[in-house]
C-alpha cells in the first residue's frame, strides 16, 4: 500500500490510526493495534476532510466482497451519475479482483479472516452536478467470519468494533435466498449483528439509533419477490430483524440486490459443489448506497 499524500512531516511523527486512534509512526503501513492500513489516515490528512466510514457487514458467504467490489466498479463507471475517485491504488484492488473473477465466470476467493489481508477502499464520491457534496468514503471488505467472531465474542477482532463505532452508515447484507428457503440463520445472524451495533452505538436505551442502516437482501436473483417489495419480504422472512430495526433504529431501509444473472453448479476435484456465475447482471447495488449517502 502506498500513500499519495503530499504533506511532509518530520521523521518520527506519530499519527493516529483512522479506525482505532492508536498512535503509529507515519511510515507504518498498518496500525500496530488494529492492523488497518495507515494509508487511510495519510489520505485523510492530505484531504483535510473527515472521511465517512461506510461499512458493509454480514455473515460469511453472504456476498459482501462481490457486492462491495461491484459497487466500487459501478461507481467508477459513473453509475447513476456518481463520480468517484479512488484515493490510492490500493483502493482499486478489491474491485479489480472482483471484476477479474466475475468476468471469467468465477466468484472471487473468500476473504481471509486475517485483518491485514482485507481490501480497503478509500474513495472520494460525489454526484456529477455543480456544488455537489463530496464524500470521502472508507469501505473495508471484512471477512464474515471475523464479524461473526467479534459479535459472538467481543474483542476477538477489535478492528470491527472500532469500525462500527466510527461508521457513519452501514449496509447490512442478508442472504435472501437462504431466508426464502426457510433457514433461520440469516435472521438470527442479522439480529445479533444489529444488537451488537446497538450495544456499541446507542448512548441511551430509550433513544433510537440514528446511524443509517441499509439492509440489503443479497442474492435476490434466487427469489425475485424480494425485488417486488423488499420490506414485505423482510417482514415475512426476517421478522426478528425487522422488529429490532423497527424498535431500535430510526434510519433503516430494506433493499434487494443481486449481481449474478444466472448461476450454474459444477464440482471440483474434491467433489465440492462449485457455483459459477454464468453472467453478470447487477441489480439493486447502487440504491442502498445512494440511500445511505442521502442520510449521512
Amino acid at each position: 500500500m502506498s500513500s499519495t499524500t503530499s504533506t511532509t512531516f518530520p521523521a518520527g511523527t506519530m499519527v493516529p490510526c483512522l479506525i482505532c486512534e492508536t498512535q503509529n509512526t507515519l511510515d507504518s503501513s498498518l496500525c500496530t493495534s488494529c492492523y488497518a492500513p495507515m494509508a487511510l489516515m495519510q489520505e485523510a490528512i492530505s484531504q483535510d476532510r473527515d472521511p465517512c466510514i461506510v461499512t458493509v457487514i454480514g455473515d460469511s458467504n453472504v456476498g459482501k466482497t462481490v457486492f462491495l467490489g461491484m459497487l466500487l466498479d459501478m461507481l467508477s463507471k459513473r453509475a447513476e451519475d456518481f463520480d468517484s475517485v479512488p484515493k490510492g491504488a490500493y483502493s482499486v484492488n478489491l474491485q479489480h479482483s472482483v471484476i477479474t473473477h466475475l468476468s471469467s465466470r468465477q466468484f472471487p476467493p473468500k476473504t481471509a479472516m486475517e485483518v491485514d489481508q482485507w481490501h480497503w477502499a478509500y474513495y472520494q464520491v460525489s454526484k456529477r452536478k455543480k456544488k455537489a457534496q463530496i464524500y470521502d468514503l472508507v469501505m473495508p471488505d471484512m471477512a464474515g467470519e471475523a464479524i461473526a467472531a467479534e459479535v459472538a465474542s467481543p474483542k476477538t477482532f477489535t478492528v470491527i468494533r472500532s469500525l462500527l463505532e466510527k461508521s457513519s452508515g452501514a449496509m447490512l447484507l442478508v442472504d435472501a435466498a437462504l431466508a426464502a428457503a426457510g433457514s433461520p440463520q440469516p435472521d438470527f445472524f442479522a439480529l445479533k449483528l444489529m444488537t451488537y451495533m446497538d450495544g456499541i452505538l446507542a448512548s441511551r436505551r430509550e433513544e433510537k439509533l440514528s446511524t443509517p442502516v441499509a439492509v440489503v437482501l443479497s442474492k435476490a436473483d434466487h427469489c425475485p419477490e424480494c425485488f417486488d417489495n423488499p420490506r414485505l419480504f423482510a417482514q415475512t422472512n426476517l421478522n426478528r430483524l425487522w422488529n429490532l430495526c423497527d424498535t431500535r433504529f430510526s434510519n433503516f431501509e430494506f433493499f434487494a440486490a443481486s449481481v449474478v444473472g444466472g448461476l450454474g453448479y459444477g464440482t471440483d476435484e474434491y467433489e465440492n459443489v462449485v457455483p459459477y456465475p454464468l453472467h453478470i447482471a447487477p441489480r439493486g447495488i447502487i440504491e442502498p448506497y445512494e440511500w445511505v449517502l442521502s442520510k449521512l
Binding site: 492492523y35 458467504n61 472471487p108 476467493p109 479472516m113 489481508q117 467470519e145 461473526a148 471440483d268
Partner: protein, 477 residues
C-alpha cells in the same frame, strides 16, 4: 523416559457449513476450552489461503506436508496447532480450505514434552490429526496423546538446501531477545523451526510463539515465523510491525553479537546432534535470561571441551565451580561439569608424564584443602597423582605424602585425610620394602621429615627402618 501420555483439550478450526453458521470458526472442541482460549484460537488460526502450501501446483504440492504453530493462550495454557489443506473451500469460492487441529496443553504438560512443540506435532501426525475431519461432532472428547520424546533422527543432518548457519543464528538471536522475526526459509519450515527452537532454553519457549508454514499476517505475529514467501510485501509488512525479516534463501544474514550460547548452539547445529542439543537446552531452568544463558553456555562449553584443555586449565575451571548453586538445574549442570573434568583428569593423570602430572599437584592440593566439595572432588585425583608419583618418582611420592600430612583439610575431613595419608604411607612402605638400596636413597630426605611429623606412626617407623642407612655387615663384625 522416551514416551509420555498427555491428556489435553482439543479444538478444530476450519471452514464448514453448519446449522449455526458457516465459514472459518471453531467447528468442534472439547468442553474444557475456555472462552478466552477460543477467542485466541479464532484470532490466531490460519484461514483462507494462509498456508504456504500450493495445492494448485500439482508438481510441487506435497499433501503430506503440514504447517504448525504454538502459542501461549490467555490463562497460561499453550496451544499447539497442526494445519493442512482440506480440499477446496466448500463455498467453491476459489482457494483451498485450511484445516487446523489444536491441542491445548498445560505448562506442566508442555514441560513434560521437553518444551518441544514438535514432539506434540509428531504425535498429532501419528494420531492422524493431519487427516481433516470435515464432519466432526460439535463436542469432542479430551485427547489421550502418546508423545515420543526423541529428537534424534527427526531432523537429520542439516543439508545444503536449508538456510545457512548465520541465518539460523540470526533467527535464534531474535528469539532469545523475545523479538519477532520472520524468515523466508523455502519449504523446510518445520525442520528449520525445530532447529531454531531447540536453541532456546526450554522454559523460555513456553513464553514465546512460533508459526511454521503460515503466511505472514500482522494479526498472527508469532515470535518466530518461518514461511516460504519471498515477496517484498511480506518484508514491508513485517518490518512495519517491528518484526525482523530475513530472507533465508538469499541475502547474507546480518552479523549477530558474540555470545557463548549462540556459539554453543551453532556448534551443535553443525554437528547435527539434535538429541544432544535438546538435552542441553530443554532443562527446566529457573532463569533463562541472557546472563544465565551465557553462564550455562560456558559450562556446557567446558564439559564438551574438557578433552582438549590442559591439565592445569581443567583444574582452574573446576576451581571456579565449587560454590553451591541456588538453581538445582544449574547445580546439576555444574555437577556434570565437575564430574566431567574429574573424569578427564583421572584419565590423563594415568597417562601423562610425571612432570606434567606434578604440575597439577599444587592446585589440586589447594582444592583438596579448600572445601568439603573440593576435598571430595579432588580426593581421587590426589590419589591418582600419588600413584603416578609412586610409579615415576617415589621420592616425589614421599614428598606428596608429606604435603598431605602437613596440610589440614578441616575437621570434617580430618579422618578421611588421615586414612588417605596412611594408605599412601602403606603404599610407600610396600614400595620401599621391595625397592633396592639405590632406589631408596632419594627417599631419605622425606623420611627425615616423617620423623618430625609422624614420630609415633608405625608405618613411618617401618619406612624409617627401611630407609635408614645400612652399616656394612662385614665392618660391624
Amino acid at each position: 523416559m522416551n514416551e509420555i501420555l498427555i491428556n489435553c483439550d482439543q479444538a478444530i478450526f476450519t471452514s464448514l457449513r453448519g446449522t449455526m453458521g458457516e465459514g472459518y470458526r471453531i467447528v468442534a472442541c472439547s468442553k474444557g476450552l475456555k472462552p478466552e482460549e477460543k477467542q485466541a484460537i479464532t484470532r490466531l488460526s490460519p484461514s483462507q489461503d494462509a498456508l504456504c502450501l500450493s495445492p494448485s501446483d500439482e508438481k510441487t504440492f506435497d499433501p503430506s506436508k503440514v504447517c504448525a504453530a504454538y502459542y501461549p493462550l490467555p490463562g497460561g495454557r499453550l496451544c499447539v496447532a497442526l494445519s493442512c489443506y482440506a480440499g477446496a473451500e466448500h463455498t467453491g469460492r476459489g482457494g483451498h480450505r485450511a484445516y487446523t487441529h489444536n491441542l491445548i496443553l498445560t505448562e506442566e504438560q508442555f514441560a513434560s514434552c521437553a518444551y518441544n512443540p514438535f514432539h506434540v506435532i509428531r504425535a498429532m501426525i501419528s494420531a492422524g490429526m493431519n487427516t481433516p475431519q470435515l464432519s466432526p461432532p460439535q463436542n469432542l472428547s479430551v485427547v489421550d496423546l502418546r508423545v515420543k520424546l526423541a529428537t534424534s533422527g527427526n531432523l537429520g543432518k542439516r543439508d545444503p538446501g536449508m538456510c545457512s548457519i548465520p541465518v539460523l543464528r540470526f533467527l535464534l538471536n531474535a528469539m532469545l531477545a523475545s523479538r519477532h522475526v520472520v524468515g523466508n526459509v523455502a519449504a523446510r519450515w518445520l525442520e528449520t523451526a525445530e532447529m531454531v527452537l531447540l536453541g532456546v532454553p526450554g522454559p523460555m519457549r513456553a513464553q514465546l510463539s512460533m508459526g511454521a508454514g503460515l503466511k505472514f499476517s500482522v494479526g498472527r505475529s508469532h515470535h518466530l515465523q518461518l514461511l516460504q514467501d519471498a515477496t517484498t510485501g511480506t518484508k514491508t509488512r513485517a518490518t512495519g510491525q517491528h518484526s525482523d525479516y530475513i530472507d533465508g534463501c538469499g541475502a547474507a544474514a546480518p552479523a549477530t553479537p558474540a555470545s557463548a550460547w549462540l556459539t554453543l548452539v551453532e556448534r551443535m547445529w553443525n554437528q547435527g546432534d539434535w538429541a544432544y542439543l535438546s538435552h542441553r537446552t530443554s532443562k527446566p531452568f529457573q532463569d533463562a535470561g541472557p546472563e544465565s544463558r551465557e553462564r550455562l553456555a560456558r559450562w556446557y562449553q567446558c564439559i564438551d571441551d574438557a578433552a582438549n584443555m590442559e591439565l592445569t586449565k581443567l583444574l582452574a575451571v573446576a576451581a571456579e565451580h565449587f560454590a553451591p548453586r541456588k538453581d538445582p538445574i544449574e547445580g546439576e549442570i555444574v555437577g556434570e561439569l565437575l564430574a566431567g573434568i574429574q573424569r578427564e583428569l583421572l584419565r590423563r593423570l594415568n597417562v601423562e608424564t610425571w612432570p606434567n602430572v606434578f604440575k597439577t599437584w599444587s592446585p589440586l592440593l589447594a582444592q583438596w584443602r579448600r572445601s568439603d566439595v573440593g576435598f571430595t572432588w579432588s580426593t581421587p585425583l590426589v590419589e591418582a597423582v600419588f600413584r603416578s608419583a609412586l610409579r615415576n618418582d617415589p621420592a616425589a611420592a614421599g614428598a606428596l605424602v608429606m604435603d598431605m600430612t602437613r596440610h589440614s583439610t578441616g575437621e570434617s575431613h580430618e579422618q578421611d585425610r588421615r586414612e588417605m595419608v596412611e594408605g599412601a604411607l602403606m603404599q610407600l612402605v610396600k614400595w620401599a620394602e621391595g625397592a633396592s638400596d639405590e632406589q631408596i636413597t632419594p627417599m631419605r630426605r622425606v623420611v627425615d621429615s616423617l620423623r618430625t611429623h609422624r614420630p609415633a606412626c608405625p608405618l613411618s617407623k617401618r619406612l624409617l627402618e627401611r630407609c635408614a642407612p645400612k652399616t656394612p655387615v662385614m665392618a660391624r663384625r
